[in-house]
Amino acid sequence: MPVLYVVDVPEFQPLVDYARNAPELTVSKQANYHKIEAAGELVIHREATGMDAAIWFGGLVGGYEGKIVEFSEDVLRIG
């Protein structure tokens, strides 16, 4: 199951907010990280998060599980 770990800091909170509103994603807490999980592919669209590209491209700093299918200016897909 693909997982994205998001550091619990304000600049990455839009990723967590996005995941909380996405029915296919679940969010739990893991130490100082938010653990975002998906049963299938984990997909986040940058525009829907409202994040600027400069911060978006740093958003994987917390690490992940699975395989990165796509990480572009528009979308992150972890399979």
């Binding site: 997982v3 770990y5 550091v7 619990d8 800091v9 304000p10 600049e11 893991q30 130490a31 100082n32 990280y33 600027d52 400069a54 911060i55 740093g58 994987l60 700093v61 917390g62 690490g63 992940y64 599980e65 990165i68 990480f71």
Partner: protein
């Protein structure tokens, strides 16, 4: 536990750079930026053939920090020492601190007014920055901290640096590794946290 034997630093005293444009350098830092001139040293080249006579002069960058230049008399310019092209062009740079949104806006207004090519304000993860260059081509930045760093930042950074070294230096076939490999290793480290 505090290690009382461990020495500490108290911020920047000065950083120093060579210049082959002494007039433009003085005019930029003293007049365009308006930094006070603090001190100037003029010296024979320590009696060595390979060490030219020089001036070493300092501008006040605030809060006890200075930016300084060496002008080695009679030496040939080495423009590639100042502003390399490509991704290295901004890597070795100086960033000065400002304390408010008003201050960073005021600096942008001053630089534009003085004819300096300056970026828009760029919001990064924890700072907002302006970017410009001095007459030598040295990259300069003015930064506003937009949030305080905390324990989560420091602990995450420590794990990231461990993942970097394990991925790109100590792991198997490090030359083949990508940032995606490092992020995956980071994920394993985070998963193991209590």
């Amino acid at each position: 536990m505090t290690d009382k034997s461990k020495p500490v630093l108290h911020g920047v005293h000065h950083t120093a750079f060579p210049t082959w444009k002494p007039k433009e350098t003085v005019e930029f830092y003293r007049d365009v930026l308006g930094l006070p001139v603090l001190h100037a040293i003029t010296a024979k080249g320590w009696g060595r053939d390979e060490h030219p006579d020089f001036l070493h002069f300092f501008f006040d960058a605030g809060n006890g920090a200075a930016i300084a230049f060496f002008y080695y008399i009679g030496t040939e310019p080495m423009p590639d020492q100042a502003g390399p092209r490509g991704y290295l062009g901004m890597a070795r740079h100086t960033s000065w601190r400002v304390e408010s949104h008003e201050e960073i806006a005021a600096w942008r207004k001053r630089l534009v007014g003085q004819g300096v090519a300056v970026s828009e304000e760029v919001q990064h993860e924890v700072i907002k920055s302006l970017y410009f260059r001095d007459p030598n081509g040295y990259p300069l930045e003015i930064s506003l901290t937009t949030r305080a760093l905390g324990v989560a930042d420091a602990e995450d950074a420590a794990l990231t640096l461990d993942a970097m070294i394990e991925t790109f230096v100590e792991g198997d076939n490090p030359a083949s590794k990508t940032i995606e490999d490092m992020w995956r290793l980071k994920g394993e480290k985070v998963r193991e946290l209590a």
